[in-house]
């Protein structure tokens, strides 16, 4: 047996069990050492220096980047250390905008919390605050660089966990900033709106974009019927805003609160999650039968969908065509409620309460707008609903629980577990195993798809056929998985992806949480919720059956397709102007534009460009042809792509390019009577 090693922390002997750094041991010893730039999920940065401790024989070290050793005697609370911490926090405050009371992060800001904890009552340094513009271009997030402390948490989560890298450090010295590339706005770059950067930002430099004012306005407008839908993950987290433990289900109080705020009807997104299960499973069965576009990827998470559109256009066909539960609800509400109530579509205001910042982006996608009216009008995060309840002065915890309105308020447990990573897969399995065998099953839990790892695999034999599944959370993991599928190293039939680690319970719109324990409790809360409900399989939801028979017709039928499905498109990562490579000298010119986006570049646009230029030289067309390169025509699955005049040619070969150039320039050559003398 291995003897355990001990380390001395403030005169106490603490066992070392595989902790990566001193900080984790100190926290295990129940000393809450202040930190600013440390997240156990991310790489160690060691920039803030707040975690300084004294090690006998060495002196001051930063605990987050020091490996523990048994000979160490550590002190965490000397006069020198305390002074230093104060100076550090004062320096941070001197660089910070001084608008705390009006900051959206006010109650949960870690900088404020530290200043209070360390008893800082004045800042001894001169304010260095800069007056930088606020970027609210994104539908999901607001960036206020004046509140940035340069801890780099957002940069690391975006590149390490999400593999997106939309924001990074730029410039240096006093000018250092965290910004998108070339100082562009966030909505012009490859950000997928997952909001994980805002989740880890300790201050108000990155926050979810609020829509509270618009919602109040709708609620106060007597001409509008305002309906709410609540996503599964919200019910196990909203309580945290009011001092409850994470994971306590508060559906009844949430309904009561929304009614008190003035919502006319309160429904459940879990209902349309049940609907998604039927549509998505049937789509899957069809794909399996035709051996077409397997693996099928889930499409409930808008950050993941945008990720595929940007980075893996050749896999867009693999995304389920199902709208997300939020958008299915929006489409149904506008269609059915409007006609039931005899109202115009624009007078029904649909407000979603979501754990998510990406849902704000999704609601604004043009695919989900009909005649200028969005299916979902506003998206509030769990945090924003908490704020509205506080503003209205409701005693949330003491509210008498109320029940959801019918029919869209009735759900099974399958629709609720959508809030956890693995939930969609499990719900689909609950349906498929009965559908394919024609037999009812007693047990409804499929624990093989549950768990905490970012990539989980499971396989299951139904009716003699083996199905392999993967459940992924975190987009960096999704990237790893797709690369494996691409290289043929792995094969799956069905892949569920959620952008947020742990799934929507860990979404960026949820109340700020300090450690992974909160996430675990929410996850558990969701599964308990499932167990408490009367039904657990989407196919057993009587209101879903009724919806098909009265309105939708067949599962996967025409009407269902119109309301519940959509299509996705390739998308540029970054807005740009392209570059002129060989301008013509004459007045009339034909534009030839060669795509140099990643997709096309990999498929040989460089050679193609070279050959086109050779050809232009040989044919002496230099004076009437403009040649330029640009990044991405958004047809990356069919690269290389070029544009000649108005025509976009995909899968372009040299011959095709030559032919097109001949065709376009032929007119000029004749009309101008140009000769080659």
């Amino acid at each position: 047996m291995k003897e355990s090693l001990y380390i001395t922390i403030d005169n106490n002997e603490i066992p070392i069990d595989n902790e990566k750094n001193l900080l984790e041991i100190i926290r295990k010893a129940k000393i809450d050492l202040p930190t600013f730039c440390y997240h156990s999920e991310l790489s160690v940065y060691g920039a803030c220096r707040l975690c300084m401790v004294e090690v006998d024989g060495i002196g001051l070290v930063s605990a987050c980047s020091t490996t523990p050793a048994s000979w160490m005697k550590v002190k965490t609370n000397t006069e020198e250390i305390r002074d230093m911490r104060k100076i550090i926090v004062e320096l941070l405050l001197a660089n910070h905008s001084q608008t705390c009371p009006t900051c959206p992060k006010s109650a949960t800001c870690q900088l404020q919390a530290l200043a209070r904890r360390l008893g800082i009552t004045k800042v001894r340094f001169k304010s260095q605050a800069r007056d930088l513009p606020i970027d609210d271009s994104s539908p999901s997030l607001v960036r206020d660089a004046n509140k940035c402390t340069l801890c780099g948490d957002c940069v690391r989560i975006c590149s390490e966990i999400q593999s997106v890298g939309a924001i990074d450090f730029a410039y240096r010295g006093a000018q250092t900033m965290v910004i998108p590339s070339f100082g562009k706005d966030l909505n012009e770059v490859e950000c997928v709106n997952c909001g994980q950067c805002a989740r880890v930002c300790p201050t108000g430099a990155l926050t979810p974009k609020p829509e509270v004012d618009q919602v109040w306005k709708a609620l106060h407008n007597p001409r509008k019927v305002v309906v709410a839908q609540i996503a599964p993950a919200v019910r196990v987290a909203l309580g945290e805003v009011f001092g409850l433990e994470p994971g306590v289900t508060m559906s009844g109080q949430i309904v009561a609160a929304l009614r008190a705020l003035g919502f006319d009807k309160v429904f459940d997104t879990s209902f349309t999650a049940d609907l998604t299960v039927l549509e998505e499973s049937n789509e899957f069965v069809k794909r399996i039968e035709n051996n077409n576009n397997i693996p099928q990827f889930t499409s409930c998470c808008p950050a993941w969908v945008k990720f595929v559109e940007q980075y893996y256009p050749e896999y867009i066909r693999h995304l389920s065509t199902c709208r997300s539960p939020q958008q299915m609800f929006g489409a149904l509400a506008k269609e059915i409620l409007a006609s039931d109530l005899g109202m115009e579509r624009e007078d029904i205001v649909v407000v979603s309460i979501m754990p998510c910042t990406a849902k704000k982006f999704e609601a604004k996608r043009p695919e989900f707008t009909r005649d200028g009216i969005s299916d979902v009008d506003h998206v509030l995060t769990t945090q924003e609903l908490g704020r509205m309840i506080e503003e209205a002065g409701l005693h949330f915890r003491e509210l008498e629980p109320e029940s959801f309105h019918l029919p869209f308020g009735f759900k099974t447990g399958a629709g609720v577990i959508f809030g956890n990573s693995g939930g969609v897969s499990e719900a689909v399995l609950r349906y498929l195993t009965e559908k394919l065998t024609g037999q009812k099953r007693e047990n409804y839990e499929f624990t093989s798809v549950r768990g905490e790892e970012g990539i989980r695999e499971a396989s299951l034999t139904v009716n003699g056929r083996e199905f392999s599944l993967a459940v992924v959370s975190g987009l960096g993991n999704a990237r790893k998985l797709i690369e494996k599928v691409k290289s043929g190293e792995a094969h799956y039939d069905f892949v569920e992806v959620m952008a947020c680690p742990g799934g929507c319970v860990g979404g960026a719109g949820q109340p700020v949480f300090a450690n992974m324990e909160a996430m675990r409790k929410r996850t558990k809360g969701i599964y308990e919720n499932d167990r408490m409900l009367q039904l657990h399989k989407s196919q057993d939801n009587p209101y879903i059956t009724e919806l098909y028979s009265k309105v939708l017709g067949e599962v996967g039928g025409d009407k269902a397709h119109k309301l519940l499905h959509t299509s996705y498109h390739t998308r540029k990562r970054i807005t740009d102007e392209g570059m002129m490579l060989s301008p013509s000298s004459g007045e009339h010119s034909v534009e030839v534009n060669v795509c140099f986006g990643t997709g096309c570049f990999l498929k040989g646009s460089q050679r193609l460009l070279h050959n086109i230029l050779e050809y232009i030289k040989v044919r002496d067309l230099g004076s009437i042809v403009d040649v330029s390169a640009s990044f991405c025509f958004e047809k990356c699955d069919k690269g290389p792509v070029i544009r000649v005049g108005e025509n976009i040619i995909d899968g372009c070969t040299v011959e095709m390019a030559q032919e097109a150039i001949e065709r376009e320039t032929g007119g000029f050559l004749q009309s101008e009577g140009r000769d080659h003398g």
């Binding site: 590149s159 990074d168 730029a170 590339s181 002129m580 490579l581 060989s582 990643t598 570049f601």
Partner: protein
């Protein structure tokens, strides 16, 4: 064709470095040698071909003062402001040229893209203070009058060149 040639050079540079992201700095150096600055679309292209986010490339390009993202003029004038040159009045020299070329207020490059005016910290030519470098050529013990004359000479030469080349067309 000039722009095309440069662009092909960039492709070459990236390939010569094995499209290896850890070679980003030498790649940017070589690209800047080609363009004399780092154009935004070229940086996007470099990021694309190395498979790294453009924000990372932008971060590196703005971190080192060696790199510049703004186009520079055909003639890069650098005036030494090391201690020796400073004492010998290099800032007066700077002011003269900046007025003459209508620069200042953060503007370093003339509208016709002919001149960029910068200061540097010590050219290592302290014996010649105040020193000035135009592209590769070093001028020592420069007075304001002499600097103005050098500039005028370049302007005349350029004008001549322009009219010559338009005659050939």
């Amino acid at each position: 064709m000039e722009t095309m040639r440069k662009f092909e050079r960039v492709c070459e540079i990236v390939d010569r470095n094995g499209r290896n992201p850890s070679r980003l700095i030498p790649i940017l150096q070589a690209v800047q040698a080609e363009y004399r600055y780092l154009p935004e679309e070229i940086l996007t292209f470099v990021a694309t071909s190395l498979g790294i986010p453009p924000a990372r490339v932008f971060g590196v390009a703005t971190f080192y003062s060696l790199f510049t993202l703004k186009p520079k003029g055909k003639y890069l004038i650098r005036i030494c402001n090391g201690t020796a040159c400073h004492v010998k009045g290099s800032m007066g020299l700077y002011k003269t040229l900046s007025d003459k070329l209508n620069l200042g207020d953060g503007r370093e490059t003339s509208d016709d893209m002919l001149f960029t005016l910068e200061t540097v910290n010590c050219l290592g030519a302290c014996g010649l203070a105040p020193a000035m470098v135009i592209n590769e050529e070093v001028f020592g013990q420069v007075t304001s009058q002499r600097a103005a004359a050098i500039i005028d000479e370049i302007i005349t030469r350029e004008a001549q060149y322009e009219s010559d080349s338009s005659r050939i067309e």
